[in-house]
């Protein structure tokens, strides 16, 4: 099957300096692909390049369309939902308003999708009229994922959903991400520090170091690679 997202020799920049040096990445339709790497390796920059949030060069193909000339809002309109680093919650707005914003690109009333999100995350329904800034970290992450799903995306881009959360909550969130991937039939591109967990769930993995892809393969193969085990899994 053709990949839903394909990066071909993509470079990404912060201002003048090149941070990602021509990488090739593919995300299979319906699959979960993970980008692993240390802090500052260029994982977040790669995700930001996909969504047009930093200057980039090279070819980015999404479902046969070029993203590398499109603006961030156009890319969202095509069905790429990006949950950014730090979650990007509208903290001054209510939970429900955050969800409605997620459905901005969809015509029609968002009530039905909102009910579906409350099904995945019941706690959000209890807090629907609270300001999003008053939610706990885990709840905010749930809200961010739910908001992204409101646009019924074909590709969900998640930037470190485990960041700053207690281990038990991280597990809950990953369980639900896996369930969402199956039930919503959405492909997932994940950046994650928690390599153990990410390799368990993903089917494909890339290892990125100082802006280059150094290893890629099936998640299982990477999980068994002795060097990766030593550097990223810690055993």
């Amino acid at each position: 099957m053709a990949p839903i997202l394909q990066l071909r020799s993509v470079k990404a920049f912060y201002g003048q300096s090149e941070v990602v040096h021509g990488i090739d990445v593919a995300v299979e339709e319906g699959g979960m692909t993970v980008l692993l790497g240390a802090n500052g390796a260029g994982k977040t920059t790669t995700l930001r390049a996909i969504c047009g949030m930093v200057r980039r060069e090279g070819e980015i193909l999404f479902a046969g369309r070029r993203l590398d000339r499109s603006t961030t809002e156009e890319i969202a309109g095509l069905g790429v939902a990006h949950v950014p680093e730090g979650r990007g919650t509208f903290i001054g707005l209510t939970v429900e308003e955050n969800l409605r914003l997620g459905g901005y690109t969809r015509s029609g009333r968002p009530d039905q999708s909102m009910q579906r999100m409350y099904g995945y995350f019941p706690v959000l329904e209890q807090r629907r009229s609270q300001q999003a800034g008053a939610l706990s970290g885990g709840e905010q992450q749930m809200l961010a994922i739910a908001r992204a799903l409101m646009m019924s995306p074909r590709l969900l881009v998640l930037d470190e959903p485990s960041f700053g959360l207690a281990p038990r909550i991280v597990e809950d969130i990953f369980t639900i991400i896996e369930r969402i991937r199956r039930e919503e039939k959405v492909s997932v591109l994940l950046v994650e520090q928690n390599a153990t967990l990410a390799l368990e769930l993903a089917d494909h993995a890339y290892l990125i170091e100082t802006g280059y892809i150094v290893t890629s393969g099936s998640a299982k193969a990477l999980a068994d690679d002795p060097q990766i085990r030593r550097s990223y899994l810690g055993y």
Binding site: C51, E73, A76, G77, G92, R100, Y104, T105, G133, L135
Partner: protein, 289 residues
């Protein structure tokens, strides 16, 4: 007592003008982190458009509505053409741009319409009502302002575009990720602010009379109102504007010569900045860390 209540009511009428301009200032501040010093002169220019339309024989309310539409489009055009290029410039550069706009509008109005003071028609008769507590004209001004506030509230609270504008102002990056065209939202914000200012200008012109410097004082009162309410709070802007209007009137009647009334606004600005920089309603966002 009667005189006191009279002063309160006429203060509320003046205050609703300040509240409108303050609201326009706050909207732009929230969206672009910029104090638009040209807000008053934009409103003055809009008022001249209405004046021209009335003079060519249009009914008052038709002229009013056309002026709102023209001002809205003009405000959007200003954002696109003049403000957007300095969007990422240092804040002082952007402030200088709005001051330049102030001067441009002021001198253009003087050039086209001369600095002669003009009569401006009021849509409301000027009769005392409610036991001479308030005039029908003041009542009309307050009613128009209230109606405008209700429309704005409904727009921002219950429409998708209004919500998208709030989102774009609060977190532009996330808004883009939701597919919201942030640039267009900012332009609409400037358009709305210009239309709000136009309403204020048209409502105040029958009282102050129309000339290119008409809005100078109003802008300062509005600025005091916006700061008092908290420069980030639309509700605060309205409440602050009303408080400034009433205070100005009472102080001018009972305490100092009315020529010194503008001093009240400056004193208020300084007091707020020194003792309560967030104003009455500013920064009410709940945040847990």
């Amino acid at each position: 007592m009667h005189q006191f209540l009279q002063q309160i009511f006429s203060g509320l009428a003046a205050g609703s003008i300040y509240a409108s301009v303050a609201l326009a200032l706050v909207m732009i501040y929230r969206a672009t982190d910029l104090v638009n010093f040209a807000q008053g002169e934009m409103a003055m220019f809009s008022t001249y458009i209405a004046w021209t339309l009335v003079n060519v024989g249009l009914p008052f309310w038709a002229a009013f509505l056309i002026t709102l539409v023209v001002s809205f489009l003009g405000g959007m055009a200003i954002e696109r053409v003049i403000i957007r290029p300095v969007e990422n410039a240092p804040v002082l550069a952007a402030v200088v741009v709005t001051i330049a706009l102030l001067l441009i509008f002021n001198s253009t109005a003087g050039w086209i319409y001369t600095y002669t003071v003009q009569d401006f028609p009021s849509p409301f008769p000027d009769r005392p009502v409610l036991g001479a507590l308030i005039t029908t004209r003041d009542l009309g001004v307050i009613a128009v302002t209230l109606l405008m506030l209700v429309i704005l509230f409904v727009f921002f609270r219950f429409t998708a575009t209004g919500l998208a504008m709030r989102a774009a102002a609060q977190n532009p990056e996330s808004a883009r990720l939701c597919g919201i065209p942030v640039g267009r939202m900012l332009a609409i914000g400037w358009g709305l602010a210009a239309a709000i200012g136009a309403t204020a200008g048209i409502m105040v012109a029958p009282v102050l009379f129309l000339d290119p410097n008409m809005m100078g004082g109003v802008l300062i009162y509005a600025f005091a109102g916006a700061l008092l309410g908290g420069i980030t709070s639309p509700v605060g802007a309205v409440v602050g504007g009303l408080i400034v209007g009433v205070t100005e009137n009472l102080v001018g009647t009972y305490l100092i010569a009315s020529q010194l009334k503008l001093t009240v606004a400056f004193a208020l600005i300084i007091l707020v900045l020194v003792f309560k920089p967030n104003g009455l309603f500013g920064s009410a966002v709940v945040r847990r860390v």
